[in-house]
Amino acid sequence: MTIHDTSAIRGMAESVRSRRLRNRLRHAAIQLGIVALVVVLLGMLAYAVKAGLAEKGIRFSFSFLANTAGFDISEGLTLTSGEGFVPNLAQFSSEMSIASAFVTGIFNTAKIALLAIILSTILGTMLGVGRLSTNWVVRNLCFWIVEFVRNTPLLIQLVFWYFAVVLHFPPMASAAKLYGGLIVSQQGIYVPTLSWTGGASTLSLILITATGVSALGAIFDPIRGARRICVGAAVVCLGLLVATGGMIVNFPVANKFKASGGTSISPEMAALLLAVVVSSASFIAETVRGAIDALPKAQWEAAGSLGLSRRDTVNDIILPQVFRVVLPSFGNQYISLTKNTALGIAVGFPDLFNIYGTIANQTGHSLEGIIIVMASYLVLSWIISSSVYWANRRLNPMGVSQ
């Protein structure tokens, strides 16, 4: 290579570099232009909306949030500032602010979404595994449940669950009383609760700690046999606690209109939960079934030749692999389930969207209200998707299925 050649190459390199720089500048300019255009357009849109609203005499302001609500909400807790500005949850009442009413709606939506996520995962996995069962009845039952539920609109299912099932529970006066004070009535499903009366007595404290430890063991102990022992231990400790008077059971007592004592699920919540859980579970079941089908058949054969029973194969070989794969699609299902809870309005469940309807009507600030509602759903969906992402990272540390 001669000197001339190198200088020629250097010249070429120089021109390449300057071309790259030009390209980069042009690129940046285009990007900047697009951003500026978007900002200008958004600004003009906001201006047009504001001017349009002003022309119609509609005020755009969030100050209505501080006004007194003046209406009641059938169920749900809201945040209030307790002693020393520590927020605590309290039942919503009509003298609270409109912002509190929104918080009640968010609480109800989050409550039902969380319960539905847990229940639909369990039910969906069972249905999905059931579809591959060797038992003809179980396999076909699961197939028809999934097919029927997946192919009918959720709103219609919800109305069915509410008006055709839940509202046909017996009235409070003749409410069915089941095992130890469970009341199933039109006014709600009441279950007994436990409350602490042991004070600081040593025996009670020891027993509650033992119950807690065995309950944790029952959930997290990796060995199935040990988990069973833990369940037994927890039940025995709790029984002793109640027997020694460390805790008392609050049984619900039926009154004229409703029951007092214990805790309850309202009919509206029960119907919405049933509808959302069953419908999401059928979608989850399909995901699970698909993931199981995708596993090599050799896995089953290998487990069989090792002498594992079918149940052990599913629990210890198949499902652990399936959950690694299906988690991202579960995440999608969780998000759509959360958004589906907005159908609660059809049965009078006071979820966020339902409460927004009342607020918009009583105050007239529907635009501001819908912005709050959309932002709340966005945040809820973000929380779910980031939790699923986090769980996925934990389950797949090596980057499997990412």
């Binding site: 047009a48 119609k56 509609i58 209406f71 009641d72 209109f257 009078g348 309807g357 105050t363 007239g364």
Partner: protein, 344 residues
């Protein structure tokens, strides 16, 4: 850059369009369109209800829509009924989906102050009542301490109930809200709701139309008064005034004993007051409101006077069985509160 220019022009045109739109009166829009878009309910017997035997929508609110169409466009058939719910009715008028709403709407300050609407005069005086199943053994409102009381979402009853509970210090009573009266009524029937609360006229209608009206008991308590009126978008006095005077005209027609039946005869009347009121001799009041001279004659031809419209939809001969006698819904000359300003 060209794109930007086009977009900018588009947005400014949009702004200009909304501004121009806002300044034109709905009256002109309706006349240009040739059809009145009128918002009514279709689940409220007596006010706005789809009669399943005739397939027609009927009711007092429906008749007001027809009277407005006749008064403005000269033909009661030139009206398009658009169903609104308790929840959607305000947005329907604000967005221009409908020109006017007659949907048994309670007039109260919070609505006129924070929602950009203007109410028309009261066309029915009602009160918030409660209905229970007869076999529930509930006789008065005080028996309902701790009960679940249901109502429709977006109704004035929601706040009336909250205030009633608060005044009595009832902690366990609950308000449950449904989308519409149909769901509300089935929830009462199923037993989910111990009482159904809404305006007394609607309660009478639902009990009256039920297979066995004796199964229901409307409590004598009235929780609060509930005056009904139609409403239009705010800041359009031309439109609002035209509608107000058509409504007052129906009151005045009853007072002046002009009916659907004797209208033809009254049009030939030599009485200068009647001539001016009906515009039969030219030079009525219509021109000043941007209407035709005979606008009241058209409205009366379509639905009759207020008393006729009332009796046809709500009176003792209907299932509603709401007698006007002794109520504010009677004409002022008979001790009621239906009163038209002076036509002179």
């Amino acid at each position: 850059m060209k794109l930007l220019k086009i977009l900018t022009a588009g947005v400014f045109a949009g702004v200009a369009f909304t501004a121009a739109n806002a300044s034109a009166s709905v009256l002109d829009t309706v006349k240009q369109r040739g059809v009145l878009n009128c918002g009514t309910d279709n689940t409220a017997p007596g006010f706005g209800y789809l009669n399943t035997t005739t397939g027609q929508i009927e009711g007092l609110d429906v008749d007001f829509c027809k009277a407005v169409a006749a008064g403005v466009l000269g033909d009661a058939a030139k009206v398009k009924f658009i169903t609104v719910t308790d929840k959607s009715r305000f947005d329907a008028v604000l967005t221009g989906q409908v020109d006017v709403v007659f949907a048994h709407t309670t007039i109260k300050p919070a609505r006129e102050s924070s929602i950009a609407i203007d109410f028309l005069p009261i066309n029915f005086y009602d009160g918030t009542g409660l209905m229970v199943k007869t076999d529930a053994g509930i006789k008065k409102f005080a028996d309902l301490d701790g009960a679940t009381i249901c109502t429709t979402q977006g109704s004035a009853t929601e706040t009336v109930l909250a205030a009633a509970f608060k005044a009595r210090g009832w902690k366990d009573s609950k308000v449950l809200t449904y989308e519409n009266l149909e769901k509300l009524f089935s929830a009462l029937n199923s037993g989910r709701c111990n009482a159904m609360s809404t305006d007394k006229s609607a309660l009478a209608a639902w009990a009256g139309n039920a297979p066995k009206p004796a199964d229901y008991l409307i409590l004598s308590d009235t929780l609060d008064k509930s005056p009904f009126g139609g409403f239009v978008a705010a800041n359009d006095s031309k439109w609002r005034n035209a509608l107000r005077w058509i409504e007052y005209g129906l009151f005045q027609a009853e007072e002046s004993e002009i009916t659907q039946a004797n209208l033809a005869e009254k049009l030939k009347s030599e009485d200068p007051f009647i001539q001016k009121f009906l515009g039969s001799n030219g030079g009525g009041y219509g021109k000043d409101f941007g209407l035709s001279d005979d606008f009241m004659a058209q409205a009366i031809k379509a639905v009759g006077n207020y008393g006729e419209a009332y009796d046809r939809n709500l009176g003792p001969k209907t299932k509603m069985y709401l007698d006007r006698k002794g109520t504010p819904n009677a004409l002022w000359t008979q001790g009621g509160a239906i009163y038209s300003p002076l036509w002179n």
